[in-house]
Amino acid sequence: MAILVILGFALVGTVELVLSPRRPWKEVAAYLVLLAVAAAFSVMVTLNPDLPVPQPLGLLFDWLKEIWQGGL
């Protein structure tokens, strides 16, 4: 499954690069990096569906919960 996902992303990437008009190398590089990140992310989620979701605001939320005793 993970291999399929990687293949899919690779296919999409090549097709789009081949078909798109000439672009500055910066944009191409950004595109490739992003695509790689997206592919890696997909693979991670595919392999481990229970991947934890980071809660950067979780601490703040806990604190708020503490001061608002009413709770939601």
């Binding site: 999409v12 798109s20 944009e27 950004a30 595109y31 992003l34 992310f41 989620v45 595919t46 939320f61």
Partner: protein, 361 residues
């Protein structure tokens, strides 16, 4: 290529965005039979914020998104803001995909893997994002007519099923639930309008921002209130608050002379149309934001990875159909408060200060 969106199309765009995927959920279920009050309260509370969003949008008038951001907040701050909102938009987009796939799996295609339903939808969104806001606005101005017509038609057919006594007694449990319900709808979908600021291009005039945002918002709020109240009056409080998709169940009951039945399909159509636009707008905003962060003026080439990553994103953020329901009807999540209220107000203050300084110079 400069985009240009006529006023009326902009209104349709905003209205359809707010209607979006929210229409099928039991909005403001915390308020129970008082949800119509919640809607009024939420509209009242959201109005100043929407006004603020339109102010922000009109400040960027005549400029491309990245230029506008930069002139308002400076180079690096604007990039950080854009990145934050891009992430927020991406997350919202993932939720919409998850809404759509869960709904479809629950009511119709039970054996089709969510991946397949999501892929079809996401590819369409990818196309839409690449076409840009102008095309989407034109699209929504056709679709809003369909949505409006279908909604009104369905509601008219269902008047026989409506029991107005369901709304009695008013405020049996006091004002608390009403307020909670109002907060629910402010979080989702009213204040998500902030993302439209980043996605829609130039309007005809600077003042048009106000017309577009406010009219679209009021229209959508009115329709949502109509739909939610109608569902409640048909289903009764208990069913409304406990069903995943109240409006779906309410329309399933329509039976005109044993001929016009099974109209729940129609709700599915509206939901898909709205959900599509909402997701396209989210990803448009995400792409534009990310492009600005990375310092590109064109966003289109970023669309593919960003849009495709929404499928695993949906699976990552939402792990069951209970979770999506919870997220759709939560009472102001902490991140939503930040992105919908705190940050916009800060941004607005900063922008006003910078602008007044600019004009003094």
């Amino acid at each position: 290529m400069k985009e240009h969106v006529p006023d009326r199309q902009g209104i349709a765009f905003v209205a359809l965005f707010i209607l979006g995927n929210s229409i099928i959920y039991g909005l403001a279920w915390r308020a129970g039979r008082d949800l119509w009050l919640s809607f009024l309260v939420a509209t009242g509370l959201s109005f100043p914020l929407i006004l603020l969003y339109s102010r922000l949008h009109s400040l960027m008038h005549g400029q491309v998104f990245s230029e506008g951001m930069e002139s308002l907040f400076g180079k690096w701050p604007s990039r950080i803001i854009a990145l934050l909102y891009s992430g927020y938009a991406w997350r919202l987009g993932s939720y919409v995909v998850s809404d759509v796939t869960n709904f479809i799996q629950a009511v119709s295609l039970r054996d089709t893997p969510q991946f397949a339903t999501a892929l079809g939808f996401v590819l369409l969104v990818l196309w839409a994002v690449k076409e840009g806001a102008e095309t989407l606005a034109r699209w929504s101005s056709v679709m809003i007519v369909v949505v409006g017509f279908v909604l009104v038609f369905t509601l008219l057919l269902a008047t026989g099923q409506v029991d107005l006594d369901e709304f009695l007694p008013v405020m049996y449990d006091g004002f608390g639930p009403v307020l909670l319900g109002a907060l629910q709808i402010m979080d989702f979908p009213f204040l998500e309008t902030i993302l439209v600021v980043g996605s829609i291009g130039a309007l005809s005039r600077q003042k048009a921002s106000y017309t577009v945002f406010l009219t679209g918002f009021v229209l959508a709020a009115f329709f949502l209130m109509l739909v939610a109240s109608f569902s409640l009056a048909v289903l009764g409080t208990e069913k409304y608050t406990t069903s995943y998709y109240p409006i779906f169940m309410a329309t399933a009951r329509i039976d005109v002379a044993e001929f016009l039945t099974r109209l729940e399909l129609v709700v599915g159509v509206i939901f898909a149309l709205g959900g599509f636009l909402k997701m396209a707008v989210c990803l448009l905003a995400a792409c534009k934001g990310l492009a600005h962060t990375l310092g590109f003026s064109d966003y289109r080439f970023l669309a593919t990875p960003l849009v495709l990553s929404v499928i695993p994103g949906a699976r990552w953020l939402v792990k069951s159909s209970m979770e999506i329901e919870r997220s759709a009807t939560k009472v102001f999540g902490i991140s939503d408060v930040l992105f919908q209220v705190v940050l916009p107000i800060c941004l607005w203050i900063v922008a006003e200060i910078r602008i007044s300084r600019h004009s003094e110079d």
